[in-house]
């Protein structure tokens, strides 16, 4: 199958993730949007690696996975803290610091 | 030429004095703000003595500098010192004085002790505040000396801006007016605004200095005034830079239409502060025009001269007219200064040796006369139970305080340039110089003399003649301290008025130099006319 299709897919996924972050209101969902972006990047990296025929891209994917994991840990911790403090997981409720 | 670093000492000494002043009575328990406890009074006493002595030493040093100065070559910078400061920016610590600068240094050094004397009982007897006030004054003095002697544009700019901070605190922190904070901020914003725009020009100017091919860097003394003069500038750029510089200076030397901060300041600051501000600090503006704008941007200066002259004339008349309308005496004096600064600027932009030297001389005279007016007005106000500044609250003070009245009259007359007083000489010179170059301007400006007479005499009449005002009936006449202050100033006015020669020796050559630098020649017939008129 044509490799570039994977690229298109990754771009689409990335865009989806970005839109999720920007539009959705549930923090967890927003958070998932970010993860989606990261994984879309992974897809792109791996595809490029295949195109260029070297493994750098795949190695990078590994690193990205680690970073994504770390982000999950930190982010989930913060979100859970807020959720426990306010019984709500909506972005809109987090507005004490309105500028 | 002596190798003794007169100027550096002149700059450094006030700082030392300021430090000493600020530190007096520190060991002792500092009295609570607003309450003059015994210890406070005592430390206040020591503080002001220390300050006064410091200021007097400065005066002595200035005298020393005068002796070291070679009047024969007043046009060249003397007592020069040059050390690299910020090589990366091509800035160096370079000081030196020509005649004009020296006179202005003398003016600043001379006025400060008087101001200190005048401020003897100010700040509501709050020792701490008085101490800080005096210290700040001395710091300001140091800056003023430095700015007059700076021969490096960067250095000049830095001090030019840095001066604002002590001045700002003098107005806002120690002022007496109700809106002093507003005045202070207004002053600061005006000056900083001008200053920052000037900064852009300074940078631009710096980048005009050709890069050394070898190192790819600019020379380490690129900012020396001498290195910046005579650069081949693109006319447009030159005009822009000139505009920026001129704007900054015009704001500083309050000139129509950017003078509006001045009356507020004079109204709200202490007379002493106003003296320093108007009589010395603002001279930096005119001084800058003379020593930076003209030599650095000759083309642009000539190009801009007509507009400048028009503005100058406007401010002459405008200041005078508004002065007449004022009810607040300090505000009034402020407006008179606007008018006088108009004269100075007019003189500078005549590009004739007579006119330029006239306005150089006038910087000195105006300093003295206006200083006298401010301080004397201050004395009058101090005598008013409510410290009112309204002319209408006074009356007939001549009878209760004859000396005050007399001296005030003399100072006033000098403000309207009565022949025989210093200001007359300079003003007539300005007129002569201007007549050669811009006859129309002179014709328009002459009425200002009449206006001046009006506002001075009206004020005098309202405050000092007629029935004695109820509130000032119990006022005492000037005490010894105040007599000294008044006496010195009046004496200076009279002496300079009767024998202006020596002083003029200091300004003539620099004037010719700047006229030459700006590339103008004295229009012959006018000089002839000058001779004629002087007979």
């Amino acid at each position: 199958m044509e490799l570039t299709n994977y690229l298109y897919l990754s771009v689409v996924l990335f865009a989806l993730g970005a839109t999720t972050v920007l539009l959705r209101r549930n923090t967890i969902v927003v958070f998932m949007g970010i993860e989606l972006m990261l994984n879309a990047t992974n897809l792109a990296l791996v595809t490029f690696a295949r195109m260029h025929g070297d493994v750098t891209g795949q190695v990078l994917a590994f690193f990205v996975m680690v970073v994504a994991a770390a982000e999950v840990v930190v982010g989930l911790a913060i979100i859970v803290t807020i959720f426990r403090a306010r019984r709500s997981a909506s972005v809109d409720d987090v507005n004490l610091l309105k500028s | 030429m002596s190798t003794f670093p007169w100027l550096t000492v002149l700059v450094a000494w006030p700082l030392v004095a300021a430090l000493a002043t600020a530190l007096t009575g520190v060991g002792r328990g500092r009295p609570a703000a607003g309450a003059a406890s015994g210890g406070g009074a005592f430390s206040a006493g020591t503080a002001r003595t220390v300050a006064l002595v410091g200021a007097l030493v400065e005066v002595a040093l200035v005298v020393g500098a005068f002796l070291a100065f070679d009047t024969g070559a007043a046009g060249t910078h003397q007592l020069t010192e040059t050390y690299p400061w910020i090589p990366a920016f091509g800035a160096s610590y370079a000081v030196g004085v020509d005649g004009v600068a020296l006179l202005l240094v003398a003016l600043s050094a001379g006025l400060v002790p008087l101001v200190i004397l005048a401020a003897w009982h100010e700040q509501g007897g709050d020792a701490v505040r008085l101490r800080r006030y005096l210290a700040t004054v001395l710091v300001l003095l140091s800056f003023m000396v430095l700015v007059f002697t700076a021969r490096d544009v960067f250095l000049f700019y830095v001090v030019f801006e840095a001066m604002l901070i002590p001045a700002y605190f003098l107005i806002g922190g120690f002022g007496q007016g109700a809106q002093r904070r507003y005045a202070a901020v207004k002053f600061l914003m005006f000056s900083l605004g001008g200053g920052l725009i000037m900064l852009a020009a300074v940078i631009a100017l710096y980048l005009q200095v050709p890069v050394d091919a070898a190192t790819g860097l600019r020379p380490q003394d690129a900012f020396l005034t001498d290195n910046l003069t005579g650069l081949a500038l693109d006319p447009m750029a030159e005009r822009l830079m000139f505009a920026a510089f001129f704007l900054a200076f015009a704001i500083k030397a309050p000139m129509f239409p950017v003078h509006t901060w001045l009356p507020d300041v004079t109204q709200n600051a202490t007379p002493g502060t106003s003296t320093l501000l108007i009589c010395v600090l603002d001279k930096v503006g005119t001084f800058g025009m003379l020593t930076l704008c003209l030599p650095l941007f000759p083309e642009a200066s000539r190009w801009a001269a007509p507009f400048v002259v028009v503005l100058a004339v406007i401010s002459i008349l405008y200041g005078a007219i508004l002065a007449i309308g004022q009810s607040d005496v300090l505000r009034l004096i402020g407006y008179t200064s606007v008018s006088h600064f108009g004269f100075i600027i007019l003189g500078i932009f005549t590009f004739t040796s007579v006119g330029v030297s006239g306005s150089s001389f006038m910087m000195l005279n105006h300093g003295i006369s206006t200083g006298a007016l401010f301080l004397l007005a201050g004395f009058a106000i101090a005598r008013h139970p409510r410290h009112s500044q309204l002319v209408s609250d006074y009356g007939g003070m001549r009878t209760v305080a004859p000396v005050l009245g007399g001296t005030f009259l003399v100072a006033g007359l000098s403000a309207l340039a009565l022949p025989g007083l210093a200001t007359f000489v300079s003003e007539i010179m300005v007129f002569l110089g201007a007549y050669g170059r811009w006859p129309a301007a002179v014709l328009v400006a002459v009425p200002a003399v009449v206006l001046a007479a009006t506002y001075v005499l009206l004020t005098y009449q309202r405050m000092f003649t007629g029935p004695v005002g109820a509130e000032v009936a119990g006022a005492k006449d000037l005490g010894g301290r105040e007599k000294t202050v008044a006496g010195v100033l009046v004496a200076a006015l009279v002496v300079l008025g009767l024998v202006p020669g020596p002083a003029l020796d200091y300004v003539r050559e620099p004037a010719e130099v700047s006229v030459e630098l700006v590339g103008a020649t004295d229009p012959q017939p006018v000089l002839g006319a000058a001779e004629g008129s002087e007979q």
């Binding site: 590994f62 996975m65 680690v66 994991a69 999950v72 840990v73 989930l76 911790a77 859970v80 426990r84 | -």
Partner: protein
């Protein structure tokens, strides 16, 4: 055939059919005699707690486990390639991996000492 993943797809297809088919079949065949009690959540006869799904709160411990798991899962992810190429990477690989394991162990020890694994 060239691509070894195709058979997996085949198996997946069959598995999916089976999974769907079974449920479908029971849905078709099975009787339908519903009543409210039958459709309620089973809680030993007491009134069911409302909305166990949305507001269903769990002990915070579970989040802790989840996060710790992520860390170690990643560790495993890095261990496998190294293990497979163990002989190739030899000394350097081993050294690097030991450092890596040490670094992973530090937070493990931290969590341990701070009671992250005590379910009391």
């Amino acid at each position: 055939m060239s691509n070894p993943y195709v058979p997996v797809l085949v198996l997946m297809g069959i598995a999916a059919v089976l999974a769907l088919g079974g449920v479908g079949a029971s849905a078709v065949i099975g009787p339908r005699k519903y009543n409210r009690a039958k459709l309620d959540a089973y809680e030993c006869g007491i009134e069911p707690t409302p909305h166990a799904t949305g507001g269903g709160r769990l002990p915070i411990k579970y989040y802790l486990v989840a996060m710790t798991f992520i860390v170690f899962d990643i560790e495993v992810v890095f261990l496998y390639p190294w293990a497979v190429d163990f002989t190739v990477l030899a000394g350097f690989g081993l050294a690097a991996m030991l450092v890596f394991l040490a670094l992973i162990t530090v937070p493990f020890v931290y969590e341990w000492r701070r009671g992250g694994f005590d379910w009391v």
